[in-house]
């Protein structure tokens, strides 16, 4: 495809992630060294990031998206009309191996899940048919490069809205709120990040879960092992090649559902608001998607999908906030 471009983009993303980690260091590190209660340990990394960059630009990932112009409408000359409708289908970059969010069901060979339901709602709003979608299964590391080079219209891939990512792509409003935790074998005594000192922890390439596993300096750090997919992490855990997997509880629950001899443990390490990623070039599409999401939330479709894929009780999302710019 375009390996050179992709490599550069990945390098950029890595550099950005690193910058975020350093930028956030003052905030989260202190929080984590505090006596751990699940609530106190929740780190809003985005807030930390914003504080670090307060002078440059205020960044609140939960209020960074563009407000919709009323209900979803495909206006003449919009990206939805000139590109997506003209093509005949929506192209969505999705996960194929994250149980309950985006996974290839071997029973019928189709990708399904909570993320996929969001995409189907958008396709239904554009075409009146939720099946007019071409799913491009992509890895974590490819999410931003594929948006940047235009090979997908939208990414629905358990993707956290962060300030670093907001510098490269636009996001929809928050459609799911996840928290980073830890998955271990059911016999393990690990119950916090500090118990992982010097142990191997699996994350995917291109996810920023590894950067939230740093212990105060002077302690042995967890050894982060990177693989392409979250299911690859579960393989390593089952083979005792790693002690734990750490990422969003939404993903960990899907892994635990595939192996009853694992458990999700520890406090909520971070707040991970999920958004659908869209190119900065297509602001009209961002507003359109936000209109679709607002409708989904109000007519109960969102809650139905949540119940079907994630379970009950249905999470109460805080009221949607949009960027202050008109």
């Amino acid at each position: 495809m375009r390996p050179a471009l992709r490599r550069t983009a990945v390098a950029l993303a890595a550099a950005a992630a690193l910058a975020t980690a350093t930028g956030c260091a003052a905030g989260p590190a202190q929080v984590r060294s505090m006596p751990a209660s699940a609530h106190a340990a929740v780190v809003d990394r985005a807030v930390g990031h914003a504080a670090a960059r307060a002078a440059a630009a205020a960044c609140n990932p939960k209020a960074a998206s563009l407000a919709p112009n009323g209900p979803p409408r495909v206006t003449t000359g919009s990206f939805m009309a000139t590109t997506i409708r003209a093509r005949g289908y929506l192209i969505a970059g999705v996960d194929q191996s994250t149980y309950h969010f985006g996974f290839l069901n071997p029973l019928h060979g189709k990708i399904e899940g909570f993320d996929i339901d969001m995409i189907r709602a958008i396709a239904a709003a554009i075409f009146g048919n939720p099946d007019k979608v071409e799913y491009k299964a992509i890895s974590d590391a490819q999410r931003i490069p594929d948006i940047l080079d235009g090979s997908v219209d939208i990414v629905a891939h358990t993707m956290t809205i962060t300030c670093a990512r907001l510098a490269q792509v636009d996001f929809s409003s928050v459609y799911f709120d996840a928290h980073q935790r830890i998955l271990v074998q059911s016999t393990s005594s690990v119950d916090s990040v500090s118990a992982l000192a010097g142990k191997k922890v699996c994350v995917t390439q291109g996810s920023d879960s590894g950067s939230n596993l740093r212990l105060p300096s002077g302690q042995r750090q967890p050894v982060v092992v990177s693989v392409p997919y979250w299911t690859d992490c579960l393989v390593l855990l089952q083979q005792n090649q790693v002690t734990a997997i750490s990422t969003d509880d939404s993903i960990l629950d899907g892994l635990a559902a595939q192996d009853p001899f694992t458990k999700v443990v520890g406090p909520m390490l971070t707040d991970e608001p999920y958004g659908l990623a869209i190119s900065k070039k297509h602001q009209d599409f961002v507003r359109f998607v936000n209109a679709v999401l607002a409708k989904e939330r109000s007519d109960g479709a969102w809650a139905a999908s949540y119940t079907h894929w994630v379970g009950t009780p249905v999470q109460q999302l805080p009221p949607t906030q949009y960027a202050s710019t008109p």
């Binding site: 491009k136 997919y229 393989v235 595939q258």
Partner: protein, 455 residues
């Protein structure tokens, strides 16, 4: 031992002390005296010629056994080892391809594909047992390759079964186990199997070169001619001394020498030409085809894995493209090399068909990728699996079938010629021994007749 030596010293001192003065000079004087007489020289010549005849027999037998053992080594050890090593590679590669194909079809793997996978694993393990039994001893690189294969094939099979079990439960985890197994296959098993095949093929080449090499036969022939000269000089000397033109015994010995030289040369020439033919029309094309086979199977697994692991990671597709360039056809590519190597061999037409099969496959693969990249994943999977006209599966199937045919007929050509080469030496060793005995008897008898005239 010390006491024994001391005793002898004491005896000799005792002999000298007894004053037997004649005893000491007697030996040398008699020898000097004897050598001046013709009968003594004849006796010496007789002994020398008999020894030379027997030595020639020994040398000829040594030469024959060297060539015969190398030639039979080619047939009984080296060639089966090389064949088994290739089987291990090829079957493992096909097993990985079958496992990927089974996955591509969904939760229920087709019976035929599953059977193909099981047969492949069994054949690879049988090949491994064969190589281990024939050449697994020692601590060299080959032995370590064999240990790696013996340890990792069960590991691979275990991961495939886990993948299958998870897939049967409709868990995405199954695909992760398939990726893991495939990485083990491509990262460890196949490179090890390829190393093993390369080593065995190199050994086959070395043994074959030993069976056809010129140096030993040249040295033997030169020594044989030297002995012939010796016989001629001996008979000339005898003729001068005895005024008889012809000594029948020495003549017989000379003729026997010529017979054994001719026999050696014929066996060698025969064996060499058969083995060279085996090389040219058998092992060289098979080795070139094996390289094509390895690349083709890897590319086919790439095709399946891109469709299964369509996580956008295009490393499998990049690998396919680079293999396509390596395969050719074109200057210096594997297919063109195989075509050149197979020219004149029984596989020539099958190899020619392979070239066009490969080009059809590339085209079908291009269409398949285009489909997959534009959202027609199901159509792409159908092209990879269904034997429909113009599908990737059809052209790959034809390529694969022609490849198998080509390798089978060239392998058979190799076997037949190599067996001829090996049997060229049959009976040569007893033959040259018998001829050497004739020479010795001839020399002994011929000189005895002259010696008798002095009595």
């Amino acid at each position: 031992m010390d006491s024994d030596l001391g005793e002898r010293l004491m005896v000799s001192t005792a002999v000298r002390a007894r004053g037997n003065h004649q005893a000491v000079p007697a030996g040398p004087r008699r020898l000097r005296l004897d050598l001046r007489t013709t009968p003594a020289r004849m006796r010496l010549l007789q002994a020398g010629l008999i020894l030379l005849s027997l030595a020639w027999g020994a040398l000829a037998v040594f030469t024959v056994s060297q060539y015969a053992s190398a030639a039979s080594g080619v047939v009984t050890t080296r060639e089966p080892l090389s064949f088994d090593a290739l089987q291990i590679y090829s079957r493992l590669s096909d097993a990985n391809d079958a496992a990927a194909t089974a996955f591509l079809t969904g939760g229920l793997d087709p019976v035929a594909v599953r059977q193909r996978y099981l047969d492949d694993i069994t054949a690879a393990e049988t090949g491994l047992e064969g190589v281990t039994a024939l050449g697994g001893a020692g601590n060299g690189a080959t032995a370590s390759d064999l240990r790696t294969l013996a340890a990792d094939i069960p590991l691979y099979a275990g991961e495939i079964e886990t993948a299958r079990a998870d897939n049967r439960l409709a868990l995405p985890l199954g695909a992760a186990y398939l990726r893991e197994a495939s990485a083990l296959m491509r990262g460890t098993l196949l490179p090890t199997a390829q190393g093993l095949y390369d080593a065995e093929n190199a050994s086959l080449g070395t043994t074959s070169a030993r069976a056809t090499g010129l140096p030993l036969i040249t040295v033997t022939a030169v020594i044989g001619l030297g002995i012939g000269c010796g016989l001629y000089l001996a008979s000339r000397w005898l003729a001068r001394r005895t005024n008889r033109v012809l000594n029948l015994g020495l003549l017989a010995a000379g003729l026997a020498l010529v017979v054994s030289l001719a026999w050696l040369a014929a066996a060698y020439a025969n064996g060499r030409s058969s083995l060279l033919k085996a090389q040219a029309r058998g092992s060289t094309p098979v080795a070139a085809l094996a390289r094509v086979d390895i690349a083709v199977q890897r590319a086919h697994a790439d095709e399946s894995l891109t469709l299964i692991d369509n996580g956008g990671d295009d490393s499998y597709q990049r690998d396919y493209q680079s293999l396509q360039r390596t395969l050719g056809p074109g200057q210096g590519t594997l297919l063109t090399n195989a075509q050149a190597a197979a020219a004149g061999s029984p596989a020539e037409s099958a190899v020619a068909a392979m070239v066009s099969d490969a080009q059809r496959w590339y085209t079908a693969h291009g269409i398949l990728r285009g489909d997959d990249n534009s959202g027609k994943h199901a159509a792409a999977v159908r092209s990879a699996l269904d034997q429909a006209p113009g599908s990737a599966a059809t052209s790959f199937g034809q390529l694969s079938a022609h490849l198998t045919t080509a390798m089978t007929v060239d392998q058979a050509a190799f076997d037949a010629s190599a067996r001829d080469g090996s049997s060229a030496f049959t009976g040569t060793a007893p033959g040259v021994i018998a001829v050497a005995l004739v020479m010795a008897v001839g020399c002994g008898w011929g000189l005895n007749r002259r010696l008798a005239e002095y009595r």
